[in-house]
Amino acid sequence: MKRVVISLTLAIFLSFLSFAHVFAQYTSPNYKSEETFFGTGGDPEITSPGYKAQASAGSLGVDPSASSAPVAFIQGNQNFLSGAGTAITSAFSSNVTTGHLLVVAVGSQGGTSFTVTDSQGNTYIKAADANNVNMSGGYYTAIYYAVVQGSGADTVTATSGSVSFRRLAIQEYSGANALDVTSAQQGVGTTVDTGSATTRHSSELIFGWMVSNSGVTSAGSGFTLRETAGSESTMDKIVNSAGSYNATAPTGSSDWTGLMATFYYNSAYLTYPGFLTPNEPFLEMTVNTSLVDLGVLDSTAAKTGNATFTVRAYTDSGYSVATVSQAPKTPGGDILNPMTSQGSSTPGTEQFGINLVANTSPATFGANPSKQPDATFADGKAAPGYDSANQFKYNAGDVLAGTDQSGWGQTTYTISYIANIAPLTKTGQYSMVHDLVAVPTY
């Protein structure tokens, strides 16, 4: 009997958790509780609940020239915009300093991502984000950071798809240049809580981005309020020992989201701009060029052109990118003769071919695959047949680029196009919609 009771209790416990998730997700405006709900996001195959907390670490590179400095807040600013739009900016009132840390908190209604840039050209990395579907019709928040590469006046711009309102808070700190850990949490109640994460260094900046339907205008215990954008606030504190930390802030009873990122100064390492490895199947492909115009072809000299595309993926078994289009053709169906086997450019002979490497003939054009930020972070390469300088080829269906078995990172590829005609290549406007298909294997 007792055993049965325990089993029943456990079953009820599990059921309650699941039930609570469902209940909170769909009826939270009327659900008042001090409880917060959380889940783990480590296994990409488990469908995570609407409330999610995660902790992750940033990427690291190597630069032995860095020196230590105490962590300190330098300056901040904020902006908020109501109404539909896609961008929001805020400028630092004083010049930012090389080596300092810029931490940017953004929020929007209806969006799912931001791109953060600034006028100094610093590269921003997303530290944490969350999308709370129960707030204001869906409230997306994120923390980005960058290490200043060049000092001077700086305006930060956050860009998204069209959203209903935007919030932006910018902060500059000295004495920190690397991301340690992050956490994110959503809930209902009178205390915004980012959830805890365990730091790994003795001196760290604990940064919180606290948003709530009722507004957050004061910092939690031990924290200093920094910027209030609209009714949402950033706050921070400096800690002097590694440990488990979270950020909290009081609010009115309502739905809320708390994001936390911790930063430290690594005297032996400099954080490189990079990417956070996602914890789920990931593929991002961008064709960066819309038109390659080879102009009027000439039987005495080749015409050349370039286009680029970028693939970022994290896969178990690599990815490939294939071309699926026919060679350029006229509306009447005359096709520019594709180079079905690898060969060099021959003016006077009708040819259409490509490769994905840097060339010196028939012109200096093209580029080798560019791994971002360098080859230690990505492994994309041109595929056989398209990987030899000054040799070109084209077959619809061919794989142009890809990675080895453990495909990862971001690589930008440059397609080098050549076209030659014979004296009697049929006249007309030749055109090709170059359809590129990425296939990741997980």
């Binding site: 309650f16 699941s18 798809g161 199947p281 038109l291 072809l297 049929k426 055109s431 296939v439 997980y442």
Partner: protein
């Protein structure tokens, strides 16, 4: 990355106490909430290949499992149902469907390397989250399956007729990733949370991306090189020169006419200059070109375009053999008889100047001619259209009223093919003495 799990013993006790109040309700909900997805194994080595990455592309074929490896089930089971839900994210609820995407017109469901070859059929019963319209969620069922799929075979499934997302709900439009969440079931009603025969078994997500259209344009300019001159070439193969740059001359002389013979160019006696006329054509017109002439109307009256004495007044009748006009043959080719006054022209194709290549051949005589420029029937010197010969055996023609008359044409590009123009004339006994001449304009008209 580190996982974050908050544990608190007091919290658990409090939750247990609260749970008792929900005993009945939770018991009702348990079959729905205790999904077996948390227990599902991963589908391994999975990939998605699509035949077009353009937004809104239709009739796209989606292949899950590549052509070489295929995907592997994590659990050996009889697959009686599969669900494919397309989302803008790999994980997380709710699944936001990329706008414009549709499985609705999909078909095929071709299986490769499956142990049970029972075909999948599209389920439109709207059972268990299958949306019935099969726009964003495709449910395939096969209740008759009975053989377990193993965990070692490389499975593949090909789905045709898919419509790609249009990216209108994608902030990075037109370069947008999307994800297909796959679930296999041991039942044909996509039931989960039960025991064997009522559960989702394996899951996995694959990714693909629509991308911005990349257009490559190029233009090939129109080419037309056409020239007229005189040439000593009198066959189908000797090169008259490399292109129009080698063609010169503005007239030919067929010598002093004699009633005992028909003078046919090239005439190398009785004052003839031993030349033929030549018209050479080069064009990249995809639809070919035509070559025509019109006899220049000289001064005088009647038959002003034939071989005549300048300024002569000729009889309008074509039967007069005493006026100062040599009777033109007319538009219908005919052979000449010496002493029966006639003037005319015929042509043969010369391939001597063409540059042979793998894409172009030119042979103008014999049973398998391959020249692109083909004389019209009334101006073909010898043989037939299907088996031409170089010569004048077919006779001559000449339209003297200035009408533009086609003598040759092509249906495609022409690479320096030449028409050897052969002129012929014979007088009658009563043809007056004098210097007779004829002039003509030659015209090439390409169609691009």
């Amino acid at each position: 990355m580190s996982k974050f799990i908050l544990k608190s013993s007091s919290r658990i006790r409090r939750l247990v106490a609260l749970s008792q109040a929900f005993l009945l309700l939770a018991g009702t909900l348990t079959p729905l909430l205790l999904t077996s997805q948390a227990e599902a194994a991963q589908i391994l080595n999975r990939s998605l290949t699509i035949t077009s990455a353009l937004p809104s592309a239709t009739s796209v074929t989606y292949t899950i499992g590549d052509g070489t490896n295929g995907f592997k089930f994590g659990t050996s089971h009889v697959v009686k149902g599969m669900k494919f839900e397309v989302c803008t994210a790999a994980v997380g609820l709710p699944c936001t469907h990329p706008t414009g995407f549709s499985w609705a017109s999909s078909g095929g469901y071709t299986l490769t390397n499956w142990q049970d070859t029972t075909a999948f059929t599209k389920d439109t019963t709207n059972t268990n989250d299958c949306d019935g319209t099969n726009v964003a969620t495709l449910c395939l069922s096969r209740s008759g399956a009975s053989v377990s799929e193993n965990t070692t075979s490389n499975h593949k499934i090909v789905i045709t007729g898919v419509v790609n997302p249009d990216n209108t709900n994608c902030s990075s439009n037109p370069n947008c990733s999307f994800f297909v969440r796959m679930t296999s079931y041991d039942n044909a009603t996509y039931t989960t949370g039960g025991g064997a025969g009522s559960q989702a078994v394996d899951t996995g997500t694959v990714a693909s991306s629509t991308v911005q259209a990349l257009t490559v344009n190029a233009a090939v300019a129109e080419v037309l090189n056409f020239c007229i001159g005189s040439t000593a070439v009198n066959d189908a193969t000797t090169s008259p020169g490399a292109g129009c740059g080698a063609v010169s001359g503005t007239s030919i002389n067929i010598g002093t006419l004699d009633t005992t013979t028909t003078n046919v160019s090239p005439v190398n006696s009785n004052g003839g200059d031993n030349k033929n006329g030549i018209a050479m054509l080069r064009t990249n017109a995809a639809s070919g070109a035509t070559v025509s002439y019109d006899a220049i109307q000289q001064s005088g009256t009647n038959h002003k375009g034939t071989l005549r004495i300048s300024g002569a007044s000729c009889n309008a009748l074509d039967t007069d053999l005493t006026d100062q006009c040599i009777r033109a043959q007319g538009g219908t080719q005919g052979t000449f008889t010496a002493g029966q006054e006639k003037f005319g022209m015929t042509t043969d194709v010369n391939c001597g100047a063409t540059t042979a290549g793998s894409y172009y051949t030119c042979v103008s005589t014999g049973a398998s001619p391959s020249n692109h420029l083909v004389p019209d029937s009334n101006y073909l010197g010898g043989g037939t259209g299907g088996s031409p010969t170089y010569g004048t055996g077919n006779g001559f023609a000449w339209v003297d009223d200035g009408t533009v008359t086609q003598i040759a044409s092509s249906s495609t590009v022409v690479a320096d093919e030449a028409l050897i123009l052969r002129f012929a004339a014979t007088p009658s006994i009563t043809t007056p003495f004098g210097l007779y001449a004829a002039q003509a304009d030659f015209i090439a008209v390409p169609t691009y």
